[in-house]
Assembly symmetry: C2
């Protein structure tokens, strides 16, 4: 969106995140343009890293670079314990501002990274293709791995509950890179921690959405984790997923790339998703991952219109 | 392996591929060191591109770069038709040399890229994260897309059958990047072409192995494609996959990253795979994707020993 690019010309992502007024403004931009049903707070899943003593930045075209990645149990033990109410107060303030601006028109969704995905950045030092370092760390130093995951769960739980206290109507936990793991590694190294986080946050009373990609091969495992809503990518058959996840609400499933094509193709693909979702309640329309750069604004508009027409029918 | 690195110090990947003696030598290297049950011809899935008039090279750490990628139907129509018996004679000669050297001790497996995966390189101009250009091409120019896929199927079928004629006991079709597509795009844009290729090659009488990654969300769809053996990555539950694919032999499933850990972890993970495979015949032990750099040679040895002990039991 041009209005987002205008802000980004003047500010880095981290600058926007750390200034509540800017973060609030960017959070509300999509709602000014589109008739959306919810807003999600503008933040970055790496923000907690600064608070725990890790230094990182975003490099043009490369994604995040962490300058002091975790390489040993010693590094894990040296992580700084912190109080999200203080160290991430700027995110909580952005939540409060956005909730006030929205004034009950649509709910605001808070968010945080899931422990596996955050740990993978901390160990890889940035984005990764094969997550080789993360897996070696898990396999070679399982007790350090579990210590790191416990540390993250404790702090992320406080952070997410604080967002709910600040007015978020729901929170979404992003396990963006979980799909690099097979089902057995998920069970052994991740599931206990994800479950602990999701259950702990559920106590706060707001719905918890668990987002992951690439987990079509073990949806059954993934579902036993305490989330209220499961957010799926586009690489699963939605009708099959709804059968497997029948105790959960489900969101997602549209390939963000389908917004790049002609509008007729987009609408056809969105209709396929809606058909796959079926008539049972408990499906929330959404993309299967973040919107891609170069997505035409008019395609987003056409998609929002289609989904609203379908919901009314 | 040091012996492979020694060859690579003197020759590029394309030099090895284009010199049958070198390609044969590298093909046999793993068999000299490990007690393996099959060899796979050393080649690159982009080799047919040169024959069809596309220029590419491998850049250090970046993977392949295609200098004149496909951007329009015009580009597709200009692709040069070629006879694999002539233009890829060097691969066929490497197959003949390797078969002669192996002298019936173990079978040699031929290989080619699958049409979707090759097309994605031709359109993206190299590796890709989101396959944005490929999907836009499919959505915006479906007739050009299907023309490109037909072109690839025709030439790849001839190439694979020629490898069988040259002595390959089986062929493997690599659909490495298929997992970027959702089930509906797979059905509409890829499945008819993959099926056409696999069925056409089956006529030659040798088993056909279809390899893909990231397709755990629509294994059922994937299985209706005419392959004899389906090669899975590690992100699927093998026991579940074998139930879904009960009409097929299955191979793969060990995470290549598990070879990076301590040998006890590796053996535990390999045993889990063997347990998942169950006692029904029709499972071939293999990794779920290519071996990773920095894999210790002694771990490969320990894995081969474990698998052989388990097969005897």
């Amino acid at each position: 969106m041009p209005e987002y690019r205008a802000v980004r010309e003047k500010h880095t992502i981290l600058e926007i995140c750390s200034h509540p007024e800017l973060a609030c403004q960017v959070t509300l931009q999509p709602l000014r343009r589109f008739d959306l049903d919810a807003a999600i707070i503008f933040a970055d899943l790496l923000l907690p890293l600064k608070a725990m003593g890790m230094d990182f930045d975003f490099r043009q075209g490369e994604g995040p670079v962490i300058f002091n990645p975790i390489a040993s149990d010693h590094d894990v033990k040296r992580l700084r314990r912190f109080d999200p109410l203080e160290e991430l107060a700027y995110v909580l303030e952005a939540v409060r501002l956005a909730v006030r601006e929205l004034n009950g028109r649509v709910p605001l969704i808070g968010f945080a990274g899931a422990p596996f995905t955050i740990a993978s950045y901390m160990i890889e030092g940035g984005s990764s293709r094969n997550f080789q370092r993360t897996k070696m760390f898990m396999y070679q130093s399982p007790s350090a791995w579990h210590r790191l995951m416990d540390f993250l769960v404790q702090h992320l739980a406080l952070f997410l509950k604080a967002q709910i206290d600040a007015g978020a109507s729901a929170v979404q936990v992003f396990d963006s890179w979980l799909g690099t793991l097979g089902p057995e590694d998920f069970r052994v190294f991740v599931q206990p921690h994800s479950c602990a986080l999701l259950r702990e946050v559920s106590v706060a009373g707001a719905p918890v959405i668990h987002f992951a990609t690439g987990i079509g091969g073990y949806l059954e495992e993934f579902s036993n984790c305490g989330a209220d809503v499961i957010s799926l990518d586009w690489r699963v058959d939605l009708a099959r997923a709804r059968r497997i996840l029948r105790n959960h609400a489900v969101q997602g499933n549209l390939d963000p790339a389908s917004l790049l094509g002609p509008v007729q193709v987009l609408l056809l693909q969105a209709q396929k998703v809606l058909q796959g979702a079926g008539s049972e309640p408990g499906y929330i329309f959404n993309l299967g991952h973040g919107i891609l750069p170069d997505t035409p604004v008019e395609n987003v508009q056409a998609l929002v219109d289609l989904v609203h027409r379908s919901s009314v029918e």
